[in-house]
Symmetry: C2
Subunit: 296 residues, 2 copies
C-alpha cells in the first residue's frame, strides 16, 4: 500500500508555481492576483479562505481578501463581483460558500466572469468540462486528477465508483473520470443516497472516490484487494484523547481499509491540500490566459 500524499504533491505543485511566478517577475510581467470574497463569520469558511490567502503569499501570487458583513445585501455583493470582473488587475475571483441565506449562491456564481471563475462553479465552465472543452475544473476534482497524474495511476479501462453526487465533487469526478483523457477513460458508476447495493458496487471498484461526507463510511468489506481509494471527506469527530477535543475523519475507515489498497489518500494531508494547489493552478492559468494565452 502506498499513500497518495496530497501534502507532498501539493508542495511540489506550489514550488513549481513559485518558480513560474519568479520567472514572470524577472520578465517584468504581471503576477497572478486572486480576489477572495468572504461574507459573514463562518468559522470553517474563515479557515479555508485564510489558507488560500496564505498559499497565495507563499508562492508569490497577489491576493485581495474582501470581508463583508453577514448582512451585506445580495445587490451589494453583485456590485462587488461586477467591480472585480472589470478590474484588469484581478485574474481570479472566488466567493467562499456557503453564503448567508438571504443571498442566492446561484446568482452570485453566475455573476462571476467565466474567465475569472477559478473555482469552476459557473455553469459555462461546468458545461465545457462536461463537453471535454478547455475550462476551469473546480478545485477538488482538479486536485484529485493532479494527484492521480503525479502517482501515474492508470485509470484507462478501470472501474471507478464515485460515492456522492454533489455538484462540487461527486458529479464532476464522475464526469472527469469517464472522459477521454489521460486521467479518465474509466467506466464510472455514480452512487448516492438512493443506491441500495452500495457495498456490492464498491467491491467491484478498481478506484473508489468517497465523497459523501459520512465519517468512516467505507469499510474494509466494501473494498476489493488492490483498489485505489480517494477519500474526499473531512469531518470533525469528537475525540477526548486529542488536545483540540476532536479528530479529523475521512469518509473511509482508514486503518482497516488501507492494508487492502494499492493506493490511498490519508485524511488530513490527502485531498485537502490538493484542493488548494489546484485553485492556485487555476489562478495561474487565468492569469496566463488574460496575458494572451488561449486556454479558457
Amino acid at each position: 500500500m502506498e499513500l497518495l500524499d496530497g501534502q507532498l504533491v501539493s508542495n511540489i505543485i506550489k514550488e513549481g508555481l513559485k518558480l513560474q511566478v519568479g520567472q514572470l517577475t524577472v520578465e517584468g510581467k504581471k503576477v497572478p492576483h486572486l480576489a477572495a470574497v468572504l461574507v459573514g463569520n463562518n468559522g470553517a469558511s474563515e479557515t479555508y479562505v485564510g489558507a488560500k490567502v496564505k498559499t497565495c503569499s507563499e508562492i508569490g501570487f497577489r491576493s485581495t481578501l474582501l470581508r463583508l458583513d453577514a448582512d451585506t445585501s445580495e445587490n451589494r455583493l453583485l456590485n462587488i463581483i461586477d467591480d472585480l470582473n472589470n478590474d484588469v488587475d484581478i485574474d481570479g475571483i472566488l466567493v467562499q460558500l456557503p453564503l448567508p441565506k438571504h443571498i442566492s449562491d446561484e446568482k452570485v456564481i453566475n455573476a462571476i466572469l467565466p474567465s475569472k471563475d477559478v473555482d469552476g462553479f459557473h455553469p459555462i465552465n461546468v458545461g465545457k468540462m462536461v463537453q471535454g472543452l478547455p475550462a476551469f475544473i473546480s478545485a477538488t476534482p482538479h486536485g484529485i486528477l493532479l494527484l492521480l497524474e503525479h502517482y501515474k495511476i492508470n485509470t484507462k479501462g478501470k472501474h471507478a465508483v464515485v460515492v456522492g453526487r454533489s455538484n462540487i465533487v461527486g458529479r464532476p469526478m464522475s464526469v472527469l473520470l469517464s472522459s477521454n483523457t489521460p486521467t479518465g477513460n474509466c467506466t464510472v458508476t455514480l452512487c448516492h443516497s438512493h443506491t441500495p447495493n452500495l457495498s456490492e458496487l464498491c467491491r467491484q471498484a478498481d478506484i473508489i472516490v468517497a465523497a459523501l461526507g459520512k465519517p468512516e463510511f467505507v469499510t474494509a468489506d466494501m473494498v476489493k484487494e488492490g483498489a485505489v481509494i480517494i477519500d474526499v471527506g473531512i469531518t470533525r469527530v469528537p475525540d477526548s484523547s486529542k488536545k483540540s477535543g476532536f479528530a479529523l475523519k475521512g469518509d473511509v475507515k482508514f486503518d482497516e481499509v488501507a492494508p487492502r489498497c494499492s493506493y490511498i489518500t490519508p485524511v488530513p494531508r490527502g485531498v485537502g491540500p490538493m484542493t488548494i494547489a489546484a485553485l492556485m493552478k487555476n489562478t495561474f492559468m487565468a492569469c496566463e490566459e488574460r496575458s494572451g494565452g488561449s486556454l479558457i
Copy 2:
C-alpha cells in the same frame, strides 16, 4: 414485455402542444417560431431538418428554414446566428449538425443565445443541466425522459447502465438519470469503448440505455430478466429483402432481447420520434420564457 411506443407518446405530446398553440392564438399571443439552419446537402441532415419543419407546421408553430451552401464561410454563418439571436420573432434556433469541416461546430453552438438554444448544446445549458438548474435539455435525452415519464417507469434506486459517452446522448443521459428528479435517482454506470466488462455490467442493469451506434450490439445474454431497454441507435443496414435495400437497426438485437424485458423501445418508432417531440417542447418553453415566463 411492453413496447415503449415513441411514436404514440410523441403524438400525444404534439397534440398537447397543438392545443396550447391554439390557445395562444385565441388569446392573440405569439406562437412559437423555430429557425432551423442547414448548411450543405447532407442527406440525413435534410431528412432530420425536414421532419422538424414538418412537425412545426403540424402543431401550429412557425418555422423558418435557412438553407446555406456547403461553402458558406464560418463568419457568414456566425452573422446569420447573430441576426437570429437579435430577431425578436424567433424563439428557438437550431443548427443542424454536422457542419462542413471548415466551420467549427463549437464556435457556432457557442454563438447561439442560450435562451434560444433549443437543442441544449450550448455549454451554459449543459452546465445548468448538470447542476440541476432549469435549462434546455438536448432533445434525445429529454425525449427519453418524457418516454420514461409517460410509462411511469420507476427509476429511483434502479441501476442504469448507459452505453456510450457522446455529448449528445450518453453523457447527458448518465447525468440526468442520476440526478435528484422524478425520472432520475438511478445509480448510473457509464460505459464506453474502454470498458472491458461491458456484458457483465449490462447484466446488472435494471435499465439499459444503448447509445453507441453499433447495430444489434446488445444481445439477450447481456440483459437481465425484466430490464427496461432504451435503444437510441439507428443505423441503416443493407437488406435485400426490403424495397429500399436497407433496414433500420437499433443498437439492441430486438428479437432476442425483447422477450426478456419489462419494457423496450422499438427501432424505428421509439426514441426517434421522441427526439422531435422534445425539440418541440423546448421550442414551446423558449417561446413561453420569452413571453415573460421564468423557466430558463
